[in-house]
Symmetry: C2
Subunit: 414 residues, 2 copies
């Protein structure tokens, strides 16, 4: 049993100047500095148990997230750990946050009794699509073959695709070089950023399709660049490169727009992928109801907590839509691997058309970075949600006083 | 021509302890302290022109809004006023904020050339429903009879309804007393909060319907309390009290849910009203596309800026859905009256089924408070968006150091 109280919460603004190398650039975000609000929670427990959490941002505005964390801190401070563990749903309703525990999160979820799992979920607003009974039934079915799937995950990992070759900020030469290296490393699925300029897209897609050949998988990502009719028109022209999906073709809030685009593009063999900017389960519910997507992309930071993601995984299962998580940024790979490994072992029980995003940046700053083998995520075995950063990295990148920013800020214009 | 640069921006956290009197309580918000992040922008112009802005909050978390304002301040500081006025859309895209000018805002909008108005709007993501050409056509049609409608507004004002009689925090006696007074004051449209307890709702609706008689208008507001099937069931039982609308029956993000509820309740004579929590034009677009509402409730603070509201007013006109703004809170009445008066004069040209919310709290803190005559909003004639607060009120309510909070905080438990 967990003992102790939460005795301290600290939050820091940590920024990595990724824009300097053009990393992460897409049609909408031309100069992101991948950053995070980094939270450490300490307890007075005898074993010194502590927890870490991050949320990913693009640099500017991280101070607002830090401020928001501080605004919520009073819900957490002095809380008895067993009260939290004893009523996850209640704690969640109060806070929309997540508990950090001694197991890796995926293993905690996998071993949790289906009733306990269901008790973590807030069903308000989704009962027209998923009731508590539906959820329980799905999870109970998920118990069948669970042990074998866990063994399989531990041996082979969860299939991944790479987004690291084809950012919009890269030259054709860099693209070719990274793509060649990725093929050598065993990658079989590749994502390319599109949407800024059609001729440019045609050329870059041709390069990458030529390099990977007709059998390997290509995904495209427009990062919300288009209006609805524009998305259909543009993608009709890129259809010849046989993308598995087009990701975020328009506003992430436009459920009906995605449905329209989906209706037009599915006959061309292109699925719609979206979700990284969906802010709650109600949006995902509607995307599923409206047949607006063929690939559902959860995000470990955009949705408030593990709990909210659980409800989405279960709804996706009910609609038989594959979940293909969004990752990258700072720590998103570290976080979301837990959710998708749980999804496979306990919910979906399928790898068909399923794949988790991978981006190769910034893992070196984490104490327990993701481990990729044969283009797959190997299940983490260290405690928690894999969010703990190296203290040295935090210190160096703390904004605006860390060594990195102290050096950079005077050199920049504002 | 406007001359000068923005030389200073200050933002303050102002809170009114409204929860002490049960004011503003509803099914979801039991103890709101109506509050605002209050912004003052100063310029170096010779005439000392300045601007004020607020956003309404419920107390806790206002410090996060203050922080967000500070995070955006660098987009505003040192800006040349004529650059802003010369490219509203560009400034808006950059900031999602609004310019403060020397006319009352409604008059500025009414007198603006249709092309200039259209140039303020960001059409990204809504061209499948409203193009620049559509908007121009609507506004050009709106020029016909404009002068007469402006005169009519100045003489008679814009029709309002009152929400001040029937908060959930009030006893039956208070409800009766306030309702009697409102009838005496000439009010003909009344809103009652529902959704916490059905028996309680039945009793309170009976009281108010008995008092106002069968001819006057009754609206109901559930403040997002229900799941979709629950909303239909609950409102079927309240249908006998003949409400014009049920407001926010479920999650404000649930477009398809609102469509389902609408389909079930419209045959019972009950319309669906929603919008006060819709965060952008894309959500409104879909509510209209999905026939999810019969009354569209814009909010002057939830949507980022006047500009974003313009796009919603024009879409509502295209779908022939009446706009009935949300108001109340701190300063929302002051703000939104500008938008709805503009809507009547230049866009909708109709008062049928249209009415603007009114709540009688906190107007005394504003330098140019709303003026209600014969249950109508009389058009403001003072410059700006009517957001300037009395300096004394700001000082007294500044959080946590103002006189009011200094007195209250030690008395409260946390």
């Amino acid at each position: 049993m967990v003992r102790g109280r939460i005795s301290r919460l600290s939050v820091r603004d940590v920024r990595f100047p990724t824009s300097l190398g053009g990393h992460g650039a897409d049609a909408m975000h031309t100069d992101p500095d991948y950053s995070a609000a980094y939270v450490v929670i300490e307890t007075d427990a005898e074993d010194g148990i502590k927890g870490c959490g991050i949320t990913f941002t693009l640099g500017k505005g991280t101070e607002v997230v830090v401020c928001a964390v501080n605004a919520l801190a009073h819900h957490v401070l002095n809380k008895d750990l067993k009260d939290i563990v004893g009523d996850f749903r209640g704690f969640y309703r109060q806070l929309t946050s997540d508990g950090q525990l001694r197991w890796p999160v995926w293993k905690l979820l996998v071993d949790m009794d289906p009733r306990m799992l269901v008790s973590c979920i807030d069903f308000r607003y989704i009962t027209d699509v998923l009731t508590e009974e539906d959820a329980l039934e799905i999870l109970q079915k998920g118990q069948i073959g669970k042990k074998e799937r866990e063994k399989q995950m531990l041996a082979q990992g969860y299939p991944a695709y790479t987004t690291s070759c084809a950012w919009l900020g890269y030259s054709d030469d860099t693209l070719k070089q990274l793509c060649a290296q990725a093929l050598k490393d065993g990658w079989t699925r590749f994502k390319v950023k599109v949407g800024a300029d059609l001729q440019d897209d045609m050329r870059r897609c041709q390069i990458i399709r030529d390099m990977i050949g007709p059998e390997k998988t290509l995904m495209m990502d427009a990062n919300q660049r288009w209006d609805v009719p524009e998305a259909v028109e543009w993608m009709s022209k890129l259809a010849k490169f046989k993308p598995l999906w087009i990701e975020e073709p328009t506003s992430p809030d436009d459920i009906l727009g995605h449905a329209t685009i989906s209706k037009a593009l599915v006959p061309l063999g292109i699925g719609i992928a979206t979700g990284e900017q969906c802010h709650n389960r109600v949006i995902f519910k509607q995307l599923l109801q409206a047949k607006a997507l063929q690939f559902l992309q959860i995000d470990s930071c955009r949705l408030g907590s593990v709990n909210e993601n659980l409800s989405v995984l279960l709804m996706a299962k009910k609609f038989e839509i594959p979940v293909c998580p969004h990752a990258g940024g700072v720590g998103l790979c570290e976080l979301v691997q837990h959710l998708i490994i749980f999804d496979y072992i306990s919910v979906s029980a399928s790898l068909e058309n399923r794949v988790c995003e991978y981006v190769d940046h910034l893992h070196e700053h984490f104490k327990y970075p993701v481990m990729i083998q044969r283009a797959s995520y190997m299940p983490p075995k260290d405690p928690g949600y894999s969010t703990e950063m190296k203290e040295e990295s935090v210190k160096k990148h703390q904004y605006p006083d860390g060594e990195v920013w102290k050096k950079l800020l005077p050199a920049q214009e504002n």
